[in-house]
Symmetry: C2
Subunit: 219 residues, 2 copies
């Protein structure tokens, strides 16, 4: 069989939690096809460029995020009719940005009420939300949404947004501390008339899978 | 940037459980590069061919499996130095075959003691084993290893192989039946002097995620 060759792209779902809502970074397309439509940030992979480098490049160059951001491959799409410009391969990634990150070119939108997206990007976004929600059930990936230092209430708020339900405060705190993934800082934060809250940062020895610590789910 | 185009491949990790061991189907390469080395079955994706169809084609044409086999996309590799024939994109899948399936061209090997593989296939296999093991912790994918009809002991044996530990029989049976993913058949199987064992098949309404039924892990 003659080898069919295709251009290779990366498309990146950049999530953040803002205003107690899961948000996703979108761009308004300035050019055809789908001119004026919203889409995920992305770009073509150069010759001799490893695909992971291309994903990191899109994340860093085009959104202005330069610090370490959690990035994970999501799914690969290669349907002949996917792009009116011709056959291509789109490898999607998702990234977890902290709340304080801003993008020079894009706009954050509520992920579950996002506008209809160009190309196959609705599918990519749907898979990204599903993956992230699943990871919230069994991994510490959600902690990557937090700007350091943070309180245990901040951590609980992240899990509540992702799982879309309220969690029991005492249970959550007990289990989260038992995971041994948080480190106490020397500081506390005072909010209103409340008792000052202990501030934490991520431990460098944080585990990825909650069950490695024998924690049963759901919280 | 000029668009770099690459050939697109699929490579498939075909798992089965045989002799109480997780096994993987391998081929001995007849041609360069890596002539004589073991590799995963795979092939190039044709022009206008959706990638999922290509993966299913490799699974069906080249292994002789024609019936419905569980197939899931695993990971995409696109490193410039991956293949001596030049840059390409390899999208890997894994498949769950039942014990009775035979392959005309390949040989099953113990997955955790497989020989060193050609190209980047060691990486693919390692990711496949990891994904399958993770799914055994929270999904019903492992049931797809079973030829129907099967006993509850058969089911337990599959989970024990994947999780690599012994499970308590009473607990396992209680939780597995509570999942409501198995259907009793009219038959029983008699083995030696034991009481005849009830035979089951997969329910058509089987859920994918165990936690949808509120089952806590580990078993």
């Amino acid at each position: 069989m003659a080898l069919a060759k295709r251009p290779l792209r990366v498309d990146v779902v950049i999530f953040a939690i803002r205003d107690k809502t899961l948000q996703v970074l979108l761009w308004k397309r300035a050019e055809a096809p789908f001119r004026g439509a919203w889409s995920l940030p992305g770009g073509f992979v150069g010759k001799d460029e490893p695909i992971e480098d291309a994903a990191r490049r899109v994340l860093e160059e085009e959104t202005g995020f330069t610090e370490e951001v959690y990035l994970e491959q999501l799914y690969t799409f290669a349907h002949p009719k996917m792009d009116p410009r011709g056959e291509l391969v789109s490898v999607s990634y998702y990234a977890v940005a902290t709340t304080s990150r801003e993008s020079p070119d894009g706009t954050f939108h509520a992920a579950r009420r996002a506008p209809s997206l160009a190309f196959h990007h609705d599918d990519v976004l749907r898979r990204g939300i599903h993956r992230l929600r699943t990871k919230a059930e069994y991994s510490t990936v959600p902690l990557r949404f937090l700007d350091e230092p943070f309180t245990l209430s901040d951590v609980q708020a992240v899990y509540e947004v992702l799982l879309d339900r309220n969690l029991d405060k005492r249970n959550f705190r007990r289990k989260m501390l038992a995971l041994d993934v948080l480190e106490e800082t020397q500081e506390k934060r005072r909010t209103g008339a409340h008792r000052p809250a202990q501030l934490y940062r991520l431990s460098s020895r944080r585990t990825y899978l909650l069950k490695e610590r024998g924690i049963l789910f759901p919280f």
